[in-house]
């Protein structure tokens, strides 16, 4: 934690901290005004052309799914910004923090509103980068840096897979527009590339949403300041992967591989994470693992197709964001006030911090799934959804039951013990209630959980129905959100959950010790990550020693050999040999000039005399100039001849002071000669192949017909240089000046060192 409580008592960070609050509140308000249109089945779409030649546009779409996410992001965002202003008051880099967090929020909004795969990917990566900066906000600590890098690497690697998947998807479907892809789901599901596309995209979604086995970065990301954890790691960023799977659900779901991958991964993550959540002592870590559990559950439901499952997904998504953000913020309040987040130490804060305690209780009851909270409706729907599952309903129901019971227990640990439990040890700081700016968020979010529990209709109408409509295509599919559905299977399962959860809570200390032993024996992914990184570094060092040993010759040799293999290999693999060249139109002067150049070049390569090499280079230069003369390029020929003269002058000056070429025997390198001949041969082949393809002369013809009428010049080459392509020429003469000045500077420093 990088904050300094002593200096923060009576300081806020001025008005600048309110700008993001106002921004997100305004966005939230605007989104609310759109809700009616969306609820009536409409969708709002904005398109700007970005790279039209590649079919990439900046297009955005607001429908039920994106509206729900956008409201959660901007609404929770506004609370978190307000909260951070106090929580991080007096913090040295507060403005930087707010900038990162605001950028993150905007990137996240861009992600969920994007209607184009490439646009979506760009925002996806922006959230990766901004979250890296936020997790690493405590960059002075090693843990902060490690966690930030880990999150960046894991989600970044997933994003690369995602990009590959998107490009494959876009080219397969002939469009990068999401709305067009979603309309052609059947074509995609029956395409032969469906499986590779699915694997690549899921790799991106699973890493981002921390599904097993990529789960380990999320608990480490708790190194970020608590508002960040509340915002990114519960309500928004980790939901990006969920969002993506939901977004593509209409186009990709319904296959066996989709069902099994998502259901199994989701169920396993849910159980695995909720078991680990019970084990944590740090409140924030507990919540981090329950977030994993929620993500797993959401993934599990996205694997299904039934209306119950989709309604459960929609409801649980909203429920979870509300109570999780609230709980994270409360934990932040506790930490802020008491100076610790250790569940074993904390207790008895209920009387000192009554408002925080109330928020915590409401949020926790929703999390535990008590009536009349929205969490209860969510859980009922979850059980209804799991019972509608196509195969193995029993296994998955047990998994869900187990994780929900564990959630119940964790809700008790997080919300009950710190406030109403007995305090056994002295706290690091004497606690008191936190300011209202920090309380507003948790209280509002927690109260929403109650309000929507009692009055689910507005939520149903505005968010759940449209969301299910974007998943299943019809507004009428969504099941009704109601508190009392009669005595049925879900209700019985709920009762079992509560009973089991209560038992787990009572016995959680004993369980924790036992779990500790089990976990210690199991493979540790976090440590595996370290080993993986060490191995990667070792490999990098090894290959650097081989390929980049610090010897110029080796670098050049590797470069040319790579070019040779890459180009030559392509020619062989594609069988792209050029046809036999046609030498019929060759005239004697050309043969003579070619021989002159070749002989000059070979002589320059083989001679061991400096003067002979210089002369040979001169011969080559003159030969090239003659080529320009014969083939109607007077300007080029004159330039070449003049430059050739200057080269001779410079070399002559330099050679006076340099030693002879070969001080130790002749220069004879057969291996280099083989490589050189190979590169030369491949170069010729490529050029011959180029010459076989038809040439596009449109540009030249344009220059020819406009040179005089429009640019008033009869020398087309010069007109191109100083008029048509003057900007290029300007860049080029700038390079000439830079080269001259650098050479001049190099020479002058030499002389100063020689005789000061």
């Amino acid at each position: 934690m990088a904050r300094n409580i002593e200096t923060s008592e009576n300081r806020d960070n001025g008005l600048i901290g309110l700008i993001p609050v106002a921004l997100s509140a305004a966005l939230f308000a605007w989104l609310i005004t759109q809700a009616n249109t969306i609820a009536e089945g409409g969708a709002i779409r904005y398109v700007w052309d970005w790279v039209p030649s590649l079919g990439i546009s900046m297009s955005f779409m607001l429908d039920g799914l994106s509206l729900t996410f956008a409201l959660l992001i901007s609404g929770i965002g506004a609370m978190v910004f307000l909260y951070s202003r106090t929580y991080l008051a007096g913090q040295e880099h507060f403005n930087r923090f707010m900038f990162f967090l605001t950028s993150f929020m905007l990137a996240m909004l861009g992600l969920i509103l994007a209607d184009n795969l490439i646009t979506l990917f760009v925002f996806w990566e922006l959230t990766t980068i901004t979250s890296y900066l936020l997790i690493g906000f405590a960059h002075a600590t090693e843990k902060g840096r490690r966690s930030a890098l880990q999150a960046l690497f894991v989600t970044g690697a997933g994003a690369l897979a995602l990009l590959a998947g998107f490009i494959l998807l876009g080219t397969t479907m002939g469009s990068f527009e999401l709305s067009e892809i979603l309309a052609n789901g059947d074509a995609l599901r029956n395409h032969e590339l469906y499986v590779p596309i699915l694997i690549l995209i899921l790799a991106g979604a699973f890493t981002k949403s921390a599904q097993f086995p990529f789960h380990f970065w999320l608990p480490n990301a708790m190194a970020a300041p608590t508002p960040v954890s509340a915002f990114l790691h519960s309500a928004t960023m980790v939901k990006a992967g969920i969002y993506l799977m939901a977004r593509l659900h209409p186009a990709m779901s319904g296959t066996d591989i989709w069902f099994w991958t998502l259901t199994v991964a989701g169920a396993f993550t849910a159980v695995f994470a909720s078991v680990l959540a019970l084990r944590q002592i740090d409140l924030k870590q507990s919540l981090a693992y329950t977030t994993l559990m929620a993500l797993g559950t959401l993934t599990l439901f996205l694997g299904q197709d039934s209306a119950y499952a989709m309604t459960a997904f929609a409801t649980f998504l909203i429920v979870h964001s509300l109570y999780k953000a609230s709980l994270f913020l409360v934990v932040g309040c506790v930490d802020y006030s008491a100076g610790t987040r250790n569940a074993d130490i904390l207790g008895g804060l209920g009387r000192i911090m009554p408002v925080s305690a109330l928020a915590a209780a409401l949020a926790a009851l929703s999390m535990a799934g008590f009536p009349p909270f929205l969490g209860f409706i969510g859980k009922e729907l979850q059980y209804a959804g799991i019972l509608a599952i196509g195969s193995q309903p029993f296994v998955f129901t047990v998994a869900l039951l187990l994780s929900n019971a564990l959630m119940f227990a964790v809700a008790g640990i997080v919300a009950l013990r710190p406030f109403w439990g007995r305090r056994e040890v002295e706290l690091p700081r004497s606690p008191k209630e936190v300011p209202w700016t920090m309380l507003l968020g948790p209280v509002v979010l927690a109260c929403l959980g109650v309000f929507f529990g009692i009055h689910p209709d507005p939520l149903q109408f505005a968010l759940v129905d449209p969301l299910v409509a974007s998943l299943l295509g019809s507004i009428d599919e969504a099941k009704e959100l109601k508190l009392w559905a009669g005595v049925n299977m879900p209700l019985i399962l709920s009762i079992v959950t509560v009973t089991l959860g209560a038992a787990l809570y009572i016995g959680h200390r004993g369980l924790r010790a036992w779990l500790g032993r089990v976990v210690a024996a199991a493979p540790n992914f976090d440590r595996g990550w370290d080993r993986f990184l060490a191995g990667l570094k070792g490999f990098a060092a090894w290959q650097t020693r081989i390929i980049q040993p610090g010897i110029l010759r080796v670098y050049i040799g590797v470069t040319f050999a790579t070019a040779l293999v890459a180009i030559g290999g392509t020619i062989i693999a594609r069988n792209a040999w050029p046809g036999l060249p046609d030498f019929q139109d060759v005239t004697w002067p050309i043969i003579a000039i070619s021989l002159l150049i070749s002989v000059g070049a070979i002589m320059a390569a083989l001679t061991s005399s400096r003067v002979a090499a210089m002369a040979a280079l001169g011969v080559v230069g003159i030969g090239v100039a003659m080529v320009f003369i014969v083939f109607s390029a007077p300007d080029v020929a004159i330039t070449q001849l003049l430059v050739e003269t200057l080269v001779v002058v410079l070399v002559a000056v330099a050679l006076l002071r340099l030693p002879l070429l070969d001080q130790g025997g002749r220069d004879h390198r057969p291996a280099d000669a083989v490589l050189a001949l190979g590169v030369g041969g491949v170069f010729t082949l490529v050029l011959l192949a180029v010459l076989e393809t038809p040439i596009d002369l449109r540009l030249t013809e344009y220059f020819e017909v406009t040179s005089w009428p429009e640019a008033f010049g009869r020398n087309i080459v010069n007109v191109i240089l100083v008029d048509f392509r003057a900007l290029d020429t300007f860049g080029e003469i700038a390079v000439v000046v830079i080269a001259a000045l650098s050479a001049y500077a190099l020479l002058r420093t030499t002389s100063e060192r020689k005789d000061p």
Binding site: G550, L552, R553, F560, P581, T587, I590, I591, S594, I597, A601, A604, A605, L617, V620, V624, V627, F631, S632, A633, D635, V636, T639, V643, L650, A654, R657, L661, D667, D672, A673, L675, A676, G680, T684, L687, L691, L697, L699, T700, F703, E704, V705, S707, W708, R714, I716, V717, I720, D728, E732, V735, V736, A739, A740, A743, L746, T749, T750, R753
Partner: protein, 121 residues
Amino acid sequence: MEALLALTIGVLVATAVYLMLARNILRFIFGLVLFSNAANLTIFVSGRVTVGAPPLIPVGADAPVGDVANALPQALVLTAIVIGFGLFAFALVLMFRAYSSLGTLYSDEMRVAEPREGGKT
């Protein structure tokens, strides 16, 4: 016509690569000169070659009369030659500077930036 030039360019590239792989950096610079010649010729030849018809517009005409040489690669090559000279001059000065401070022209012995393992330069 182009085919023969393509062969010649191949010879230029081969000799340039051979020279650039030498241990003596003076040879490397000779290779650089050959390589830029090869590159210029490649651009020129890729635009196809025409004998005896420079891209000029005669007085009284609005456009060139008949088939003339492709002006675009000529313009590109012209600037490339001048830039190539700038690069060459810089490389030469750099080499000279390296020689005067390190006392050698052999690139294997120039190890100030990347010393051999064991700390010797």
